[in-house]
């Protein structure tokens, strides 16, 4: 029988009142120690704000020709002009909206399905666990981009199809991570206590287990966001995007298809490419920071690498091993890769 005292220490209180404010303070302190995660959050927030109404931030109108085809970058057009004389910076900002909608929706679907599968498998155990984990293994084995390409080619490349395809492929890593944590939570004493008080399984899952999973789900969502953007831009590069809807991936495809390389107009794809890079890096930093915070091993003493003297692992490291992250993995990507 586990000593009740030990369990009380390791069972975190649900966030409410003074305990909740203490957690917030700890989270803010962790952010200050990890500038990358802070930068990541700022960038993601900026992208979200631009995505809500890009027209507020665009220096020129959408689809407005402001100069010659593939005009070079200048002071008034820092990223030059594209193949129709539009300002590349404005087009990139405009593309934020569609890219964000696709990426966020796909990531939410992926995390939602993953959480549902993970909770069901981890909580119920037994044959439910077995069946769900076998299913996860088979879906995990399918490479994301080829299936997305085939599905888009077979069923059409509309917005809904795109979101569904990406969402239905990315849930597996979340499912595995959630299952592991749910299994460890299920065996905690507090669950047995609440159960003995007569709580139904549904209540236990919703009220006690789900809040504990929140940081993990946010971390997975951040990483899935990056993979979703990679996959969407890869699909666009294959001609399977929607050309009438500007996204960053479509812009890179336009540059490739519409002879930007031949003309030497490198600016036509640098802006959207850098945008994808920034969002992917931010997603990775934020997701990694949360995983680091959840991972107790960082407080283990390390030998300082060169002198081999014992030294504390100072603060959050740049990044621990990506726990089953993709490439992209995408991208890669999608990965990541995955």
């Amino acid at each position: 029988m586990i000593a009740p005292g030990a369990e009380a220490i390791t069972t975190p209180a649900p966030p409410a009142g003074p305990a909740g404010r203490a957690r917030l303070r700890r989270a803010l302190r962790a952010l200050r120690r990890n500038p990358r995660a802070a930068a990541g959050i700022v960038i993601l927030l900026a992208v979200a704000i631009v995505a809500i109404d890009p027209h507020l931030f665009m220096p020129y109108q959408a689809g407005q020709q402001v100069g010659p085809v593939y005009g070079s970058p200048s002071l008034s057009h820092p990223f030059g002009l594209d193949d129709a004389g539009h300002d590349v910076l404005s087009e990139t900002l405009l593309g934020t909206q569609a890219t964000a909608v696709i990426a966020v929706t796909s990531a939410l679907i992926a995390v939602g399905i993953g959480a549902a599968v993970g909770i069901a498998a981890g909580y119920a155990g037994g044959w439910v666990d077995l069946v769900l984990m076998r299913l996860t293994d088979y879906v995990l084995v399918i490479p994301v981009l080829p299936l997305a390409i085939v599905a888009a080619a077979l069923f059409g490349a509309g917005l809904v199809n795109l979101i569904l395809v990406i969402g239905l492929l990315l849930w597996t890593t979340t499912a595995r991570a959630v299952r592991a944590q749910v299994m460890s939570l299920r065996s905690r004493v507090f669950v047995r206590r609440v159960r003995s008080l007569g709580a139904s399984h549904l209540r236990i899952v919703l009220r006690h287990i789900l809040p504990q999973l929140a940081p993990l789900l946010v971390a997975m969502a951040a990483i899935d966001l990056a993979v979703a953007i990679f996959t969407q831009s890869a699909l666009a590069f294959f001609g399977l995007g929607n050309p009438s809807q500007i996204t960053w991936g479509i812009m890179i495809w336009f540059a490739f298809e519409r002879t930007a390389l031949v003309v030497g107009a490198w600016w036509a794809f640098v802006a959207p490419g850098l945008a994808i890079m920034l969002v992917a890096m931010s997603g990775y930093w934020v997701g990694q920071a949360i995983e680091d915070a959840l991972n107790p091993r960082l407080r283990v003493r390390h030998l300082a690498p060169r002198s081999f003297r014992v030294a504390l692992a100072g603060g959050a490291a740049v990044g621990t091993a990506p726990a089953g992250t993709a490439a992209a993995t995408d991208g890669g990507v999608t990965e990541g890769g995955r």
């Binding site: 490479p143 390389l261 081999f308 890669g332």
Partner: protein, 318 residues
């Protein structure tokens, strides 16, 4: 060990079977019919469409089609490409002859880069070198593969060949000039591939090195009088390479996405370009064959990764 091997091979065979079935189902639930495109010729009629359906066995029920499909697969028949009027299997073999060297060279480059940068970042942990190297790795990993490819094309136009696998004018020059020509053309795509994927290896190796440095046996190795470099090479690095090898082998399958995009950018006549052309031309047998090939590659790579980890680390024996 033998029992474990049998279990793992059995599990892999089941996964292969599931993949084959998924491949079959995927191309049967698509809207329309496989022959609607072929039958769209001038002067065609319903009778022609029925005749083609009969020839390809598409008028049978789905379970019968499935059985036919399995039988044909067992004979290595992946169908006939609509666009090239040739067996898909032969076309895929030719494509693989181009893809495998390019991806292989790129993968080795990525491993090398990841090893060097990972050790460097861990050795100089906390310093400017560490943050620069780690952030560079993340930046390259976060850049979409097609973006890196396009960037490298812009940088190296005129200096290195940026399209195709060989110079058509140099076809009959002799053995070594041909090899040199192919190598020159392969340089940029492989470099792009290596740059696109090395980032994850850097981070994984750095993390596992730092974790190994926290283990008790490392402290013991140092306490028993080993010089730092000797302790690093003999005790830390081999153990740190285990998760690195694990991740590297597992990720082999998902490097497919990057390879496919890079081939399209550089017009490299491999599996990626074949998939691109098949999509553009609505060549369903080709798409089906490539999808099957890529998924089976992932399954095999995961199996290989499992075996590799078992061999390298006897502690994983359950």
């Amino acid at each position: 060990m033998a029992g474990y091997l049998v279990k793992r091979v059995g599990s892999m065979l089941i996964t292969v079977y599931v993949v084959i079935t998924l491949n079959f189902l995927l191309f049967r639930v698509m809207p329309g019919n496989a022959v609607t495109d072929i039958a769209r010729v001038p002067g065609s009629s319903l009778a022609l469409e029925h005749a083609i359906e009969q020839q390809f066995g598409l008028d049978h029920s789905i379970p019968v089609q499935y059985w036919d499909y399995l039988g044909q697969l067992a004979h290595g028949n992946l169908g006939v490409s609509f666009a090239y009027q040739q067996p898909v299997a032969g076309l895929l073999v030719t494509a693989l002859e181009y893809t495998l060297p390019m991806v292989g060279a790129g993968f080795l480059l990525a491993l090398l880069l990841g090893l060097v940068t990972g050790v460097l970042a861990a050795w100089r942990r906390g310093t400017l070198v560490d943050s620069t190297v780690s952030n560079l790795a993340i930046a390259f990993y976060a850049a979409p593969a097609q973006f890196l490819g396009l960037g490298l094309v812009m940088l190296f136009t005129g200096l290195l060949p940026t399209a195709g696998a060989s110079n058509p004018f140099a076809a009959g020059e002799g053995f070594w000039p041909t090899v040199a020509d192919h190598a020159q053309h392969m340089l940029l795509p492989s470099l792009t591939f290596g740059l696109a994927v090395f980032g994850q290896y850097t981070l994984v190796l750095r993390a596992s090195l730092l974790e190994t440095l926290g283990e008790d046996y490392t402290l013991t190795a140092r306490a028993t009088g080993n010089a730092p470099r000797r302790a690093l090479l003999r005790h830390v690095l081999p153990n740190a390479l285990l998760p690195f090898a694990n991740i590297a082998a597992l990720q082999l399958g998902s490097l497919v996405a990057g390879a496919v995009l890079i081939e399209v950018v550089f017009s490299w006549p491999g599996v990626g370009t074949a998939l691109y052309n098949a999509v553009v031309q609505r060549d369903y047998p080709m798409m089906q064959g490539i999808f099957l090939l890529l998924t089976l590659a992932v399954v095999l790579c995961n199996f290989g990764a499992d075996l590799l980890c078992r061999v390298l680390d006897p502690r994983t024996a359950t």
